[in-house]
Symmetry: C2
Subunit: 225 residues, 2 copies
Amino acid sequence: MAANRRAELRERLPDALRLYVLTDRRLARGRDEARIVADAIAGGATAIQLRWKQGPLAEALRVGREVRQVCRDAGVLFIVNDRVDLALALDADGVHVGVDDLPVAETRALVGERMIVGYSPPTLEAALAAERDGADYLGVGPIYPTGTKADAGGAVGVEHLARIVEAVGIPVVGIGGINASNATPVVAAGAVGVAVISAVVAADDVEAAARALRQAVEAGLRSRA
Amino acid sequence: MAANRRAELRERLPDALRLYVLTDRRLARGRDEARIVADAIAGGATAIQLRWKQGPLAEALRVGREVRQVCRDAGVLFIVNDRVDLALALDADGVHVGVDDLPVAETRALVGERMIVGYSPPTLEAALAAERDGADYLGVGPIYPTGTKADAGGAVGVEHLARIVEAVGIPVVGIGGINASNATPVVAAGAVGVAVISAVVAADDVEAAARALRQAVEAGLRSRA
Ligand code: NI
């Protein structure tokens, strides 16, 4: 395990978070996570998050090891959602926590410099606190209305994201209701990339869906150049 | 944090697991966890397990720190259920995992020698595997029919517990449907103690309930002497 993986990954983060695909078995229509992840990477995904919302953790370990291998072979970030213990057991590149999970400070204390920590701040103040407490990037949203997360609340819009980007010194990705037709303004507003679940994981053609999203992200980056 | 707390606690475990009380906010009828734990200890509880089945982990940290302090002041074991990350963040004396949680081997790898690991084996084979993988004690049950755990399955009885006690070299506690009137045969069958939830946590008089259970455990120990 890299004892100081964090510093190395922090340098790469702005590029590595351009297209961040979150897995969700419940949306995958019976398809294998590792297959979906491989297809998403072929289409241009730069980071993968393993979301494990139900089921035995022994199964999460099995699936997570497969997904991790696919990510490592491709040089793509492998991040685990919610559970710091699962992230450590999988020797992930990072862990992503939210308001219901272990707080950022405790998460950082547990992982040390072995991995990056992402956080989903509900407010601008929470974003600033998370940066102080050791978060390496932020996921801000839901940018647009979404049906994926029952607890996602009302859409915050790209203006809210732009305010957080201005206020913090760490990379921000937009999440929530993002697809190929609305991703460009999220990046134009200052996000380093977008995070998606259903737009890729539930797509008929995962690779094509990822490619269209990646192109929309690149268009947003060009608009800021 | 004690880097080698495990070895010290292993020596104490047979005595420290005589009356093992598991918290459950949903059964506590609005009463404060730390209060219930203090009363249970006054009645003779020798170990406490923080069970956190729902709600933000920030709240689990707050409650857990209170409960830990009550336990430390009394010299009583403080163990965290299910989540290795929460156990580490709380600097608990131990973590207890089951079939849906991180496997024993991965749990041991994460906690090292900093704490003890308990496991709930569904079968005799699982009990032997857990001992090999680094479990320090086992919780076997449900001994009697119970309404507390929806997924607890049919009662296994004291004979099943006795077979596991014979087969392994680590302490075994019985759990599931145990109260003051049926605890003695569990210990007589070879358990070092009993684990209870509702029999203490949901009692009108928590201290009296713990005292009656502890007396039933001591009667079981005397029957083996
Ligand atoms: Ni979460």
